[in-house]
């Protein structure tokens, strides 16, 4: 492996270019016409324009990306997160072109991408799952299962994931309507109208385990990330380790994640997501077959560069650390700085960043593709920076995050920086006592 095409944009493309450079790999950026001035384009060794602004015609355009790969003579493709990262057909198309896809096999992506099937694989591997239907369900099967497990329930799109394609039903009457709407939406959004049903767990936390596997069959976990602070099922603040896990639960959860990864013959970086209920019992939700946005908190507490691992594993090397060498060191927090206006219900706020001063100093890392004079385009994700702070313990990580947020100065667009400054002072956040519904409850009580 000598030359890598980065099939992404924004901070993760810049992150990947950094890892490639450390490994002595040449890089090719691809970009839409809206991203000509983007940082990943400027930082890569070569850049190829692959189409108009709309992702469908550029970052999701498989043929244009493969053509860029042929033209530049790369031997590998790094997918990042979002766009084509969990698209099994894209991974297979890369393989057909003799390109190394920096990620798991198309078969593993497919097995975990069908969220109903992933549940079945998990259950067969002895991983606890949330009570619900066995795979995709008809209306009749869903009604029967819901009567047995009790309401409220969640109807989820089998082809969904990442919080998309989910609807709740409180009773039998609601369920019939919700199933019909969820199936129609899933068909339109994902081209697959299959849905399945799970019990809605109230007051649970979202905790996920990072795993790394290689082609030699080595498989390790890198502990967990706590991601319960969400708004509309999108994460806003993540931390490692989870303040809610004791040592025994941590070990049990990591063991379950490894069993699932082994059953899926998993290679490269992946994340197994769980819900942790108030009694400390955990159940599998889904597996993400890619790098996660929030991967830096794991890097900060383990010292392992996950993107570098992804690249070296894809090149045929074993995972660079043994399980017994991995230890949790301190605590880390990531806050997502989005181009959104927290004063106006998080309305997207694209436009030119007229001034930017990023925080620095001990324990502070900022992953971003933004710069003063950069115009945030309206076409893509609103994430513009990830502020990640590390401390010897959670209290120090919190203090550093708060201090770094004070230093964070950005002008020209609205961002979530003021929201995070307030959030860091929240008693429940300070105490680490929050669940996935916490931010929604809080915004209601603030109003």
């Amino acid at each position: 492996m000598e030359k890598v095409l980065i099939a992404n944009r924004g901070e993760i493309a810049v992150r990947a270019i950094r890892a490639c450079r450390e490994l002595g790999l040449a890089t090719v950026a691809v970009h839409s016409t809206a991203d000509e001035g983007a940082l990943h384009v400027r930082q890569a060794d070569e850049a190829v324009c692959i189409g108009p602004p709309h992702a469908r015609q550029s970052y999701l355009n498989v043929e244009a990306i493969l053509e860029a790969a042929r033209r530049t003579g790369v031997d590998a493709v790094y997918p990042g997160y979002g766009f084509l990262a969990e698209n099994a057909a894209f991974a297979a198309a890369c393989r057909d072109e003799n390109l190394v896809f920096v990620g798991p096999s198309p078969e593993a992506i497919e097995a975990m991408g069908d969220k109903a099937r992933a549940r079945q694989v998990a259950a067969a591997a002895g991983v606890p799952t949330i009570p619900g239907t066995d795979g995709k369900a008809s209306l009749e099967e869903a009604l029967e299962a819901a009567a047995e497990i009790g309401y409220p329930v969640l109807v989820k799109a089998a082809a969904g994931g990442g919080g998309r394609g989910i609807r709740a039903a409180r009773d039998e009457t609601e369920l019939a309507g919700v199933i019909a709407r969820a199936a129609a939406e899933a068909g339109a959004a994902f081209g697959d109208d299959g849905v399945y049903l799970e019990k809605l767990l109230v007051g649970a936390r979202h905790v996920e385990v990072q795993v790394l596997g290689d082609s030699q069959g080595n498989l390790v976990h890198l502990f967990e990330r706590e991601c319960s602070l969400q708004r509309r099922r999108q994460k806003l603040l993540e931390e490692a380790p989870s303040p809610a896990l004791d040592a025994a639960t941590r070990e049990a959860m990591a063991g379950a994640a490894l069993r699932l990864a082994r059953a899926a013959r998993y290679e490269n970086a992946g994340t197994v997501e769980f819900l942790l209920d108030r009694d400390g019992a955990f159940s599998f939700i889904e597996m993400n077959t890619r790098i996660q946005v929030e991967h830096p908190v794991t890097e900060l507490v383990t010292g392992v560069d996950l993107v570098r691992e992804q690249l070296s594993i894809a090149g045929g090397a074993p995972v660079s650390v043994r399980q017994d060498e991995l230890v949790l060191s301190g605590a880390a927090i990531e806050v997502r700085i989005n181009a959104e206006d927290p004063e106006r219900d998080f309305l997207p706020s694209p436009g030119e960043i007229t001034a930017l001063e990023l925080p620095r100093g001990p324990g502070v890392r900022v992953d971003t593709a933004a710069y003063a004079g950069y115009t945030v385009p309206p076409f893509y994700d609103s994430l513009i920076a990830k502020l990640c702070c590390h401390g010897r313990d959670r209290a120090e990580a919190l203090e550093r995050t708060r201090r770094a947020l004070e230093e964070f100065s950005i002008e020209g667009i609205h961002t979530t920086v003021p929201f995070h400054r307030e959030l860091l002072d929240d008693d429940a956040v300070q105490a680490g006592e929050y669940d996935v519904e916490y931010l929604e409850r809080r915004s209601v009580s603030v109003r």
């Binding site: 602004p53 129609a184 339109a188 997207p348 694209p350 309206p378 076409f379 893509y380 609103s382």
Partner: protein, 79 residues
């Protein structure tokens, strides 16, 4: 100057709630203030465009999936 309905946000303009549905409104339709007349997609999120006054839709000034700016006229209202 004829009365118009503007997009409150920059982004991609859509006439339908989803690709398989009927358009929210068509030329010749009568709308009331507050009616949804289209969607604008910005940063992967969808926002409804509401009529700020009642009237009859004379014509669309942009096509489905066109890029629009904040404050751009998208519908012309007529008598």
């Amino acid at each position: 100057m004829p009365e118009t309905i503007k997009s409150p946000l920059p982004g991609t303009f859509y006439r339908r709630p989803d690709p398989t549905a009927d358009p929210y409104v068509s030329e010749g339709d009568q709308v009331q203030a507050g009616d949804v007349v289209g969607l604008v997609e910005i940063m992967k999120s969808f926002h409804e465009i509401h009529a700020d006054a009642g009237g009859r839709i004379a014509r669309f000034l942009v096509e489905n999936e066109d890029l629009v700016d904040a404050g751009q006229d998208i519908i012309e209202l007529g008598g």
